[in-house]
């Protein structure tokens, strides 16, 4: 049942939200179903609650985190749920008439129900994390509601501000909740509430308390976070009435009540909560006097009343708690009715500015009387509900024990605040309903529709009923709620109107008198209409946000200046740092088993060193650098040959040829020289970094090379011939042991070709230099090159076939095929080649890859893992026994991909045409 109660508003929110804007009436009816149905369910559960057993329900969600959908309806939750649903029902009714035709009724009500659900969830949550979840949900749904009139700047700003402040509180709550969970070992409320002493004794208690209080203070608009509430008044009035008087702002004090057994009882709690409450009480009520906007006044009044409630919970005595709960109810009734009245006035006159209002008693007598009664309740006039809880507050203030300073301070604050409350209530009544009539209003006001008044009437009647006969009306509710907080410790108290002519009553009277004097005195002294109060909190907030955004922007721009140079520098520096750190503490002892240098190595070494340095030296003259780098490549290849790596040497040589061709093709579209660099300092800096990097790499390379070594390769060597079927171990590794690498490698190669293809397919670019005249046919080289082609094919095939046993293999063979074809491109031109060769290279790449893939899959048929190679000697007539390794088929795939891939890249680069329009660069 509890789960149904909670689910109803959410489900209906969804349904209402899906209605089209035109279905206003349907939306209202559907929406009303939520609070009404909820109240029925709540009524059904009331006996269980009253009996003290409560209602519980548990659905696991994330048990690992102790986060479950655990619901729990005790007296406190019951009271709040009733408040949320009851006022909610009235608000839906009110909103039905309040919203203009331009507003989307379904959207509004959907948001409202969402909020209602969140609020309900929060009060019935039986798990602290779940409570925090719904807590945040109330922030989010209120964001949507405050910003409902999205075309208004102040609505958007108010919504964002509310979200930021209350959202921050929610995050703090999350922290607090986790700490409480750590202290008690559970997030379940039952456990936490039963662990009060344990919590108070924990060293984590102050942190947990402060975090939770941050949530409380932000949500309940306590000093110094109070400023968001007046700005939330940009919301439609039903929202203000509901969220910002009756329910959401009460979430904070609800949490205080909820966690009272767990957190209260320390001096820290007392000072913090009652101190902040007292300040808020004073600040709120004082500012309320100076508001011109009806809703602004009500908002500050709400702040002060919330301060009052907070203060009561801070006092922590059982009676204070009862008083706090009582005032929550009372405030909800009179404040909601006042907001609705203000909404009616706004609705009818088109303004809420008290400087333009007045004399409405004549025009809207019925509404006026309702509002006046509610205001008197707000002022704490006897026979109205506000008076009762205020009396209890005064009593409790006087009861403070052991904190002399606090007792006097709070008592004085109570009287002062009482006086301020009277003053702003007077202003509300006086400026709106009396005095000279409304000025500069657009339309003639009428009494509102019948049904729009009903909610106000109900609430005012409640104010009166409670005020006159508390014991008959509110007592059982209050007792139930108090039991929810205090358990069996609920003190004896009497809810009667008259407790005798005692100190609290005198304080009330003093406050009343002071308030009247204050209001009329101030009116005499200063032009109340001329005072304009600007929210300092808001200014600070906005300044902070703007400043934060500005700083964030500046910092981001500074860090991410779009400079690749910096990004690369960071990588290099990071690598340097992490590479060098280990050596700071270690002593660098090189084992030093260096081998003697063969004479030829000197040549290679010298050639490589000189050419490398020259490449850097000449790098700005690009063609030159390229030629010199060719010598580096040659030296590297020679080094490979010398050091027993013939396959590497071959590959390096061939790749070098193709690379140079590609680079030259590209260079034709790039400036021939690098522009000079503006900063000499940077060059030196980079040189130093480069030297450090080079030195580090070299030192480390030397250290590792001269170290004793135990490698898996010895096993590979031993098993290559018998099990891999080849004596060129490098090739056996490539096509067998690590054939999977090779599959990936040719995939990379093929993809690269496809990428080049994709990027250049339709590209038109202006070359750096266009030679005059028709291309030279280069007859002599051409003749030779064409003669060479079949011979190169033969060599390529030869290298392919024997690759498994001797240097060679698919990759090398593929390049030996591609390079002479590349030469043909160079000598005969692109058009000539496309006419004659015209392969669909992407498809050839696909075929090659498919062959490689299929070879691997073949072994599945025999029940072996992917790419298990099968070597056999096939007897072919005349030829004798030939080794046939499945790996060779794989190698054919490599061959095709490499050949087609390199030709596709070169061909695409070559086929680029100049733009249709455009001259030389």
């Amino acid at each position: 049942m509890l789960a149904t109660l909670l689910a109803t508003p959410f489900v209906l929110a969804l349904l209402v939200g899906l209605l089209p804007d035109s279905r206003r009436r349907a939306a209202a009816w559907l929406a009303a179903l939520a609070p009404v149905g909820g109240l029925v369910l709540l009524a059904l559960m009331t006996p269980d609650v009253m009996s003290g057993a409560g209602v519980r329900s548990l659905v696991p969600w994330v048990p690992a985190m102790g986060l479950d959908l655990s619901l729990r309806l005790d007296g406190l939750a019951w009271m709040f749920a009733g408040l949320v649903l009851g006022i909610g029902a009235l608000i839906v009714l009110y909103a039905r008439y309040y919203l203009s035709a331009a507003d989307s009724m379904p959207r509004f009500l959907s948001f409202l129900l969402l909020f209602m659900g969140a609020m309900l969830g929060m009060v019935v949550a039986g798990n602290l994390v779940l409570l925090a979840v719904f807590w945040e949900l109330t922030s989010i749904s209120s964001f949507l509601l405050i910003g409902f009139w999205k075309h208004r700047q102040e609505a958007r700003d108010g919504a964002r501000m509310a979200l930021a402040i209350t959202g921050a509180g929610g995050l703090a709550l999350l922290g607090g909740v986790i700490l409480l969970g750590r202290i008690t070992g559970s997030y379940e409320l039952d456990v936490v509430l039963a662990s009060g002493p344990q919590i108070l004794a924990s060293p984590l208690y102050p942190y947990a308390l402060v975090l939770v209080l941050l949530a409380v203070f932000t949500k309940s608009a306590q000093f110094p976070f109070q400023f968001w509430l007046p700005h939330a008044m940009a919301a439609p009035t039903p929202v203000s009435a509901y969220l910002h008087s009756a329910t959401m702002v009460k979430a904070g004090v609800f949490l205080l009540a909820r966690l009272h057994p767990a957190l209260a009882g320390s001096d820290l709690f007392f000072y913090l909560v009652s101190g902040i409450g007292a300040i808020t009480l004073l600040v709120g009520s004082w500012h309320a006097i100076f508001q011109h906007d009806l809703k602004g006044l009500l908002a500050y009044s709400t702040i002060s009343h919330l301060g009052l409630i907070t203060l009561l919970f801070g006092l922590s005595t059982p009676m204070a708690v009862v008083a706090g709960l009582f005032h929550i109810l009372n405030h909800a009734t009179f404040k909601a009715s006042l907001f609705m009245a203000a909404g009616i006035i706004d609705h009818e006159t088109g303004t809420r500015d008290m400087r333009r209002l007045g004399g409405l008693l004549r025009i809207l007598p019925y509404t006026a009387i309702l509002a006046i009664i509610a205001s008197l309740a707000m002022a704490g006039v006897p026979l109205l509900n506000g008076f009762l809880s205020k009396e209890m507050f005064f009593t409790e203030a006087l009861e403070i024990r052991g904190h002399m300073f606090m007792r006097w301070g709070i008592t004085v604050a109570a009287v002062l605040a009482g006086a301020f409350g009277v003053a702003y209530s007077l202003r509300f009544v006086h400026d709106t309903f009396f005095g000279p009539g409304p000025v500069r209003i657009e339309r003639t006001p009428h009494e509102p529709p019948r049904f729009m008044r009903i909610p106000v009437e109900i609430l005012v009647i409640l104010c009166l009923a409670v005020g006159v006969a508390p014991a008959l009306t509110i007592a059982p509710v209050l007792r139930t709620a108090a039991e929810g907080v205090l358990g069996a410790d609920v003190p004896y108290y009497s809810l009667s109107i008259w407790h005798g002519f005692n100190t609290p009553f005198i304080m009330s009277l003093v406050g009343l008198a002071l308030g009247i004097a204050l209001y009329f005195g101030i009116r005499k002294l200063i032009d109340l209409y001329g005072v304009s109060y600007d929210s300092r909190g808001r200014r600070v907030y906005e300044w902070k946000v703007a400043e934060a955004v500005r700083l964030a922007g500046k910092l981001t721009d500074r860090l991410e200046n779009g400079s690749l140079q910096r990004y690369l520098l960071m990588v290099v520096l990071s690598a340097l740092a992490l590479g060098l750190v280990p050596f700071l503490s270690a002593d660098l002892a090189f084992p030093g088993r260096s081998q003697p240098m063969p004479p030829l190595a000197w040549l290679v070494w010298g050639m490589g060193m000189v050419a490398t340095l020259a490449t850097v030296w000449l790098h700005r003259r690009r063609l030159l650098a390229l030629v010199v780098m060719g010598a580096v490549g040659l030296a590297v290849s020679l080094a490979f040959v010398l050091l027993s790596a013939p396959d590497l040497a071959l590959t390096q040589l061939l790749v070098e040829m193709v690379t140079i061709a590609l680079m030259l093709l590209a260079l034709n579209y790039l400036p021939p020289e690098s522009a000079p660099e503006p900063s000499r300092l940077r060059k030196w800096r980079d040189a130093v970094i480069a030297l450090a990097a080079g030195g580090g790499v070299a030192a480390m390379a030397y250290a590792v090379m001269t170290r004793p070594f135990d490698t898996v390769a010895s096993e590979i060597l031993a098993r290559s011939l018998p099990e891999g079927g080849g004596s060129n171990v490098v090739n056996v590794i490539l096509v067998d042991f690590r054939g999977f690498d090779t599959l990936g490698e040719i995939a990379v190669f093929g993809i690269a070709a496809l990428v080049v293809h994709a990027m250049l397919r339709r590209a038109r670019m202006l070359p750096e230099r266009r030679a005059d005249g028709p291309p030279d046919p280069l007859v002599i080289p051409n003749t030779v090159a064409r003669l060479l082609l079949p011979l190169a094919l033969a060599v390529s095939l030869y290298l392919f076939l024997r690759g498994h046993n001797l240097p060679g293999g698919g990759f090398i063979a593929g390049l030996v095929l591609a390079v002479p074809v590349l030469l043909q491109y160079v000598l005969s031109g692109n058009e000539y080649m496309e006419q004659r060769l015209g392969f669909d290279y992407p498809r050839v790449i696909g075929v090659g890859l498919a062959l490689a893939l299929a070879t691997g899959v073949g072994s599945w048929l025999l029940g072996y893992p992917y790419m298990t190679s099968h070597t056999d000697y096939v007897a072919v007539p005349l030829l004798g026994k030939l080794p046939m390794a499945s790996a060779m088929v794989f190698d054919i795939g490599v061959y095709l991909v490499v050949g087609a891939g390199s030709l596709l890249m070169l061909g695409m680069m070559a086929a680029v045409r100049p733009p249709l329009h455009g001259g030389a660069r």
Binding site: L568, L626, A666, A701, M909
Partner: protein, 117 residues
């Protein structure tokens, strides 16, 4: 020999890093090419150096590291060379397109503001 090769690798790295930190796309490509030479030599040398012992099995010789250089790094370098080539090709084409589109071969797509040195 180990020392000489280390120094060569280090020189290649230094040269490569210096060029890598230049502002023009082609310089960076040159730098990356040098760096890939360096890394190829490095990986290769991590199998330790041996002269005249190619990892090509011979019936006369025991198939062990005493008679053959480590074939594994060689296979890795082969893969690395091929991949580096593919990457270079894509980078080149990108550099060319970038230059063509933004009218500058500066890697940041625009010429730096004039500074007085």
């Amino acid at each position: 020999m180990e020392l000489a090769l280390s120094v060569f690798i280090g020189t290649l790295v230094a040269a490569g890093v210096y060029l890598l930190l230049r502002a023009r796309s082609f310089d960076i490509i040159l730098g990356l090419t040098l760096l890939s030479y360096a890394v190829n030599l490095l990986i290769f040398s991590m199998g330790r150096l041996a002269v005249g012992k190619p990892p090509i099995l011979d019936k006369a010789l025991d198939p062990s590291l005493a008679n053959h250089s480590d074939p594994l790094p060689q296979a890795l370098v082969l893969t690395a060379i091929v991949i580096a080539f593919a990457m270079t090709a894509v980078l080149l084409v990108t550099a060319v397109r970038s230059r063509s589109d933004s009218r500058s071969d500066h890697v940041d797509g625009h010429e730096p503001p004039e500074e007085t040195p």
